[in-house]
């Protein structure tokens, strides 16, 4: 097996990412940020970076449990919010989600999970208006590439400081930045139903898939070269297929071109235009 080194200089990552949050929040006239705190590692890191960038008093962490959410998740979120000194609110989403679920007895776990993720998005964007803060994204590079997210749910945010870090890199940064080990070391879970874990659902570990993604995406290996480097061919095939299949989750909806100048094709400006 080829040796893949995913280690990063975490001090440098921390400097760049806190600078990014500060720059992108303040240049649009804001000084506050909002993070949905799940009790997991991704949102913990996003919250810690935002607190460092903007000052903890300017960060609002929101816990949004559903009735089946693990009590550990709530507890870990609280632990982190206290450690960081950020403001914290708890808004249950059960009452928001239940009426939808009751309408359809046939509803799948998947659909329930999507409803919860989207309900949380609604809460975050609503609180964002009140708190006058930008919503900080918590999606990492691994899940973005694998499409392991709910479109317009947990993938929705104003800015995303974590989207170019693989899960294993994010763990390294979280440890170095002082996220409690009880959060860093537990099995990653979307916590959309009891006992759910990312790695069970995906069918492989983050450690395995991150190495493969790093070769495929960052190092531009062909799938065949990854197999020659020691990865199982079915695993490579499944991952390559996931990357392609979920491209739609990584894009704005395409606009059908009619005019000479169309948003997305030839009307090109950065979001930071004029700032």
């Amino acid at each position: 097996m080829v040796n893949v080194n995913l280690m990063i200089n975490t001090e440098l990552a921390r400097t760049i990412l806190t600078g990014f949050i500060r720059s992108e929040v303040t240049r649009v006239g804001y000084s506050h940020a909002i993070v949905g705190l799940s009790g997991g590692i991704d949102s913990a890191l996003a919250c810690a970076l935002a607190a460092e960038a903007l000052g903890p008093q300017n960060v609002l962490a929101i816990r949004m449990p559903y009735k089946t959410s693990s009590p550990d998740s709530l507890e870990h979120a609280e632990l982190l919010a206290k450690q960081l000194g950020v403001q914290c609110e708890t808004i249950e989403i059960t009452d928001v989600v239940e009426p939808f679920i009751r309408r359809d007895p046939e509803i799948s776990k998947q659909r329930k999970g999507n409803l919860m993720a989207r309900a949380r998005m609604i809460v975050l964007y609503d609180r964002s208006e009140v708190f006058k803060g930008l919503v900080i994204g918590t999606s990492n590079k691994t899940e973005i590439l694998l499409g392991y997210s709910t479109l317009f749910g947990d993938s929705a945010s104003a800015i995303n400081p974590l989207g170019d870090l693989y899960k294993t890199q994010l763990r390294q940064l979280s440890r170095d930045i002082g996220i409690p080990s009880v959060i860093v070391d537990k099995a990653p879970s979307a916590d959309l139903w009891a006992g759910q874990t990312d790695e069970n659902e995906l069918g492989f570990t983050y450690e395995e898939v991150d190495k493969l993604l790093y070769l495929l995406v960052d190092q531009r290996y062909s799938p065949q070269e990854c197999i020659e480097a020691g990865f199982d061919d079915k695993f490579v095939g499944a991952v390559v297929s996931r990357i392609r299949r979920f491209q739609f989750k990584r894009m704005m909806p395409p606009i059908a071109k009619l005019s000479n100048r169309t948003i997305g094709y030839d009307f090109l400006y950065l979001r930071d235009w004029g700032t």
Partner: protein, 297 residues
């Protein structure tokens, strides 16, 4: 002794340059705000007896301009509202700025202008427009078509912009054209985070700029910007290397700062007396081989 003194005066009217490198953050597409920052930093530099201040690539406009290009373009002329105050300020100290130049036929170039004594001494148009990976310059800009050194009150200089010096030929041409002081400017997006101390992009640029100073036994100053544009991060870390390839100054990473360096131009003579790479450079051989390569069709 008199003869030596005479020679040095002839080639380098001033034997020392107090150089300032403006490691700044810009507002994307807001030329007036960027101009105000330039004028303020020029005033700061003047108070500190600076002879020459160098700004980064596209310092008056910001970097990822895309469809903003036409709206931020200016011409380096006396009656241009942006260049007028800059030219006025250049009566006190020399200024190298980055901007979008629009020619009379409305082609847009990534450009650097060298201003001195109220005049534009030289304009360089970027000759290599990266259009790969995260870069899309060739889509929005015209390619410059010359690389020329120019005379200043400090001696002969050359200016290059970012990708220009990722290629070896533009610095080489400036060297042959008489440049002893290279003013390199960048808006270099940071990339290649790994477990090393510095980003890959920073390591690469520092390696080549140091190499040019060593190989061309010349002064090489690199001005780079800081700040963010969307998710892109510009890392700063301005540097100046002397003709021995030794670092004179290294600015901090990621901070907006004015970095000062003293260039002792007598070092050119001392280094080239020891290491006559310029004297021994076989330009005829280069020409013969280039002719052979180009005639292959």
């Amino acid at each position: 002794m008199f003869g030596v003194y005479f020679l040095m005066v002839r080639f380098h009217p001033l034997m020392q340059i107090n150089l300032a490198l403006a490691q700044i953050c810009t507002k994307l597409g807001d030329v007036q705000a960027n101009l105000d920052k330039h004028l303020s930093l020029i005033a700061d530099a003047k108070r500190q007896n600076t002879d020459l201040i160098v700004f980064p690539e596209l310092s008056l406009t910001g970097y990822v301009l895309q469809d903003l290009v036409a709206s931020v373009a200016h011409r380096p002329l006396e009656d241009d509202p942006v260049f007028k105050p800059l030219l006025k300020a250049s009566r006190d100290l020399d200024i190298a700025v980055g901007f979008v130049d629009e020619d009379s036929r409305h082609r847009f170039f990534i450009a650097s202008a060298y201003l001195s004594g109220g005049r534009v001494l030289h304009v360089h148009h970027k000759v290599y427009l990266p259009t790969y990976g995260l870069f899309d310059e060739g889509r929005f800009f015209a390619w410059g078509d010359s690389v020329r050194a120019f005379d200043t009150r400090f001696g002969r200089m050359g200016m290059l912009i970012c990708e220009d010096f990722w290629h070896a030929s533009p610095p080489y041409l400036l060297w042959l054209d008489g440049a002893d002081i290279f003013l390199l400017s960048s808006a270099s997006p940071g990339r290649g985070l790994n477990d090393k101390e510095k980003l890959e992009s920073a390591r690469w640029v520092e390696r080549v700029t140091k190499a040019y100073a060593s190989m061309f036994t010349s002064f090489v100053a690199h001005a780079n910007r800081v700040g963010y544009e969307d998710g892109l991060h510009f890392w700063g870390g301005v540097t100046v290397f002397d003709p021995n390839g030794e670092e004179i100054v290294h600015g901090p990473y990621n901070e907006e700062v004015l970095v000062f360096a003293e260039l002792d131009l007598n070092q050119l003579r001392r280094t080239r007396s020891r290491l006559p790479l310029l004297r021994d450079e076989r330009t005829g051989l280069v020409q013969n081989e280039l002719n052979r390569l180009l005639s292959r069709g």
